[in-house]
C-alpha cells in the first residue's frame, strides 16, 4: 500500500490540498469574523464596522453571558443528556429498521421502504403533533419532549443506511453465515454492524448534531426554564430580541417596549459562539472514534 508516490499522484495530492485549504478558509473566515465580532468593542463595530483584526478588544459581550452562567451550564447539561440518550437510541433503532430493508429476501421490503420514504414527503405539521405529544403522551415539560418528537429517527438516515448495507455487504457473506447456522440476529450483531462502522459513525454524527442544534422541541414543549436546552436558551434570547424590536411591538406598546434592554449584535454573536464552542472543542474527541470507525470499516477487504 505504502508504495512510493508517482508523479501524477504527487500532483494530485497538491491539487486536492489546494482545494481543501481553499474550502477550509471559506469555512473558517466567516467564523473568525463571528468570533472577532463578538470581542470587538461595540463602539468600534458601530462607528468603524467589522474587521478581521479588531482594534479594540472587549469582552463585554461575554460578561453579559457570564451573568447567565448558571442557566447556561444547566442548559449544557440538558443538551448533553438529550444528545447522548437520543443518539444512542437512534443508533439502535435506525440500523434495525434499515437492515431488513436492504435484504432482498425480506418480502415486505418494498412496501416498508415506501412507508419509510413517505414520511419524508408528508408531515402533519406542528398542530397535530403538538396535540398528540401533549395530550396523549403527556410530554409537555418533560425531558422526553426534547428527545422523542421528531428527532429520534428519520427516513433520510434509514435510507442512507439501507443503501450502505445493500451496497457494501456482499450477499454471499450472509449466505455463508446462514449455512454455518447463524440466526438473523446473530448475523446482524456479529457481522453487519462491525462492517458498517462508517455509516454508523456518519448517522451518529448527524443525529448527534441534530440533537445538539435542536431548539424547536424546546420552544413548543417546554416552558420550565430548568429544562431549557442550550440552543433553546440561546435561540429564545435571539428571537425575542428580534421580536422585541419588531414593528409589531413598537406599534403596540408605543415607545415603552423599546426601552427594554436589548442585546446588541456583538452580544448576539457571543451567544452563538457559546453555542458552537463546545462542539468545536468536543468534536475532535468524538472524531477520533468517527475516523476510527471509518478506517476500521475500510480495511475489511
Amino acid at each position: 500500500m505504502a508504495n512510493v508516490l508517482g508523479r501524477g499522484e504527487k500532483i494530485f495530492q497538491v491539487v486536492i490540498h489546494i482545494f481543501l485549504i481553499l474550502f477550509a478558509l471559506c469555512a473558517i473566515l466567516p467564523l473568525w469574523v463571528l468570533v472577532a465580532g463578538s470581542i470587538t468593542g461595540e463602539q468600534e463595530l458601530i462607528l468603524e464596522g467589522y474587521s478581521f483584526l479588531p482594534k479594540s478588544i472587549s469582552f463585554t459581550a461575554y460578561k453579559y453571558l457570564f451573568y447567565k452562567a448558571k442557566d447556561i451550564l444547566n442548559a449544557y447539561g440538558i443538551t448533553l443528556i438529550i444528545t447522548i440518550v437520543g443518539t444512542v437510541t437512534s443508533l439502535v433503532i435506525t440500523p434495525l429498521l434499515a437492515y431488513p430493508l436492504s435484504r432482498q429476501d425480506f418480502r415486505a421490503r418494498n412496501v416498508v421502504s415506501f412507508l419509510v420514504f413517505f414520511t419524508m414527503l408528508f408531515n402533519g405539521g406542528i398542530v397535530p403533533s403538538y396535540i398528540m405529544w401533549t395530550q396523549i403522551f403527556h410530554m409537555k415539560n418533560t425531558i422526553w419532549a426534547l428527545i422523542i418528537p421528531g428527532l429520534l429517527m428519520n427516513g433520510f438516515n434509514v435510507i442512507l443506511m439501507k443503501n450502505y448495507f445493500a451496497q457494501n455487504i456482499p450477499v454471499e457473506l450472509i449466505e455463508a453465515a446462514k449455512i454455518d447456522g447463524a440466526g438473523e440476529f446473530r448475523i446482524f450483531a456479529k457481522m453487519i454492524l462491525p462492517l458498517s462502522l462508517p455509516i454508523m459513525a456518519t448517522v451518529g454524527l448527524f443525529v448527534g448534531i441534530g440533537y445538539w442544534n435542536d431548539w424547536t422541541n424546546g420552544l413548543y414543549y417546554v416552558t420550565k426554564p430548568e429544562l431549557y436546552s442550550l440552543q433553546n436558551l440561546l435561540n429564545r434570547i435571539l428571537q425575542d430580541v428580534q421580536f422585541l424590536s419588531s414593528s409589531t411591538v413598537s406599534q403596540a406598546a408605543g415607545g415603552a417596549a423599546s426601552m427594554t434592554e436589548m442585546p446588541s449584535v456583538s452580544i448576539r454573536m457571543a451567544i452563538s459562539v457559546v453555542g458552537i464552542l463546545p462542539i468545536m472543542v468536543l468534536y475532535p474527541f468524538f472524531q477520533k472514534y468517527f475516523v476510527k470507525g471509518i478506517t476500521v470499516g475500510a480495511v475489511k477487504g
Binding site: A24, A27, Y50, R107, F122, G125, V127, P284, G301
Partner: protein, 306 residues
C-alpha cells in the same frame, strides 16, 4: 391451518419483522400519527368549536398560493434554486468527499473534515449576522476593503442580481460538510482491492476515480437526488428569509414559496392556510418523486427507491 411452505417462510421472515418493529412503531406514532391532521388544510379553524368540529371550506385555504401575481415568481424561484442547489451541491459534495478520502495523513482528514463541517453547526440567524458583517454597506468588511482601495461601495442588499450567486455560495458553504461526509462514508466503504488491482494495471488516480469511485457512488447520488426532488417545492426558510435580511428590494430573486407564506400569514394567524401550503408542497413533491422513481426504475431498476 397453514401450508408447510407458508409457515417456513414465516419462520424465515419473523426476525425481520422484529427488527423493524421499534423503528416502524416510532414512524407510525411520530410521522403517521400527525398526518391525520392534514385535514386542517381544508378547514376554517374555529377555536371555540375545536379542530374537529370546525367547518369545512374545501380548497379555499389554498387560493392564496395561486391567486396572486407572485405565484409564478415564487414557484419559479423555488424550483430553479432547488435545481441549482441539487446540481452544484452534488458535484461539490462528491468532489470534496473524494478529496477527503484521498488524504494520506489521518490528522489532515480530521482537520479538514471538522473545519468544513463547522458552518453546518450555525443557526441561520447567526449566518445572517455573519453575512451582514461582510455585506453591510455602512459597516461591512467587503465595502471596507473596497473603500480603502478607493472603490465605490456596493449596495449588496439592494441589488437583486447578485443574490442568486450569494445564496448559492452560502448554501454550498453551509451544506458542504454534511454532504461530503455522506459521500465520504460511501467511498470509504468501497472495497480497497478494486483500487489495488487498478493500480497494478497502471491506472492513474483520475482514472481510478473516473472508473471506480464515481460509478460506485451512482446509487447514492440517485438516492439523494430522488430525496431532494421530493423537496422540490420546499425551500430553506432561513436561507431565503434571514440571509437577505428580509430586504424588500431583493424579492425578485429571494422570494420563495416558504418566505411568501410566512409573510402572507404574519398579519393573520391562520393555521388552515399554513397547513394548506405544507400540503401543497408535499403533494407536488410526492408526484415528482413517484415520477422520478419510475424513470429510474425503467433505466436502472436496482437503484430505484421502492
Amino acid at each position: 391451518m397453514e401450508t408447510k411452505k407458508k409457515s417456513s417462510m414465516l419462520r424465515k421472515q419473523w426476525p425481520f419483522w422484529v427488527m423493524i418493529a421499534p423503528g416502524m412503531l416510532y414512524l407510525l406514532i411520530n410521522n403517521y400519527g400527525p398526518m391525520c391532521g392534514l385535514f386542517i388544510a381544508f378547514k376554517q379553524i374555529d377555536y371555540s368549536k375545536g379542530i374537529w368540529k370546525s367547518p369545512w371550506i374545501g380548497f379555499e385555504n389554498f387560493t392564496y398560493l395561486f391567486k396572486t401575481d407572485a405565484a409564478f415568481l415564487i414557484t419559479k424561484n423555488t424550483i430553479l434554486y432547488n435545481l441549482l442547489f441539487i446540481a452544484v451541491g452534488t458535484v461539490m459534495g462528491i468532489a470534496t468527499g473524494i478529496m477527503l478520502s484521498e488524504l494520506r495523513k489521518k490528522f489532515e482528514t480530521k482537520f479538514f473534515q471538522t473545519v468544513i463541517l463547522l458552518p453546518y453547526l450555525l443557526s441561520w440567524v447567526i449566518c445572517a449576522y455573519i453575512g451582514y458583517a461582510f455585506l453591510s454597506k455602512d459597516t461591512g468588511l467587503i465595502n471596507g476593503i473596497l473603500r480603502t482601495f478607493g472603490m465605490e461601495a456596493v449596495d449588496w442588499y439592494n441589488d437583486p442580481g447578485k443574490w442568486p450567486f450569494i445564496l448559492l455560495f452560502v448554501n454550498v458553504w453551509k451544506g458542504l460538510g454534511y454532504s461530503s461526509i455522506v459521500y465520504m462514508s460511501t467511498i470509504i466503504g468501497i472495497d480497497r482491492s478494486l483500487y489495488e488491482s487498478a493500480m497494478v494495471d497502471g491506472a492513474t488516480k483520475l482514472a481510478q476515480i473516473r472508473y471506480i469511485t464515481i460509478p460506485l457512488l451512482k446509487s447514492t447520488v440517485i438516492m439523494l437526488t430522488i430525496m431532494s426532488i421530493g423537496r422540490m417545492f420546499y425551500s430553506d426558510f432561513g436561507l431565503f428569509y434571514q440571509m437577505p435580511m428580509n430586504s424588500g428590494t431583493l424579492y425578485s430573486t429571494t422570494q420563495t414559496i416558504d418566505t411568501y407564506v410566512y409573510r402572507a400569514l404574519m398579519q393573520q394567524s391562520n393555521i388552515g392556510m399554513s397547513s394548506a401550503a405544507g400540503f401543497y408542497q408535499s403533494i407536488v413533491g410526492f408526484i415528482l418523486v413517484l415520477t422520478a422513481n419510475a424513470i429510474v426504475r425503467k433505466f436502472s431498476a436496482e437503484n430505484a427507491m421502492f
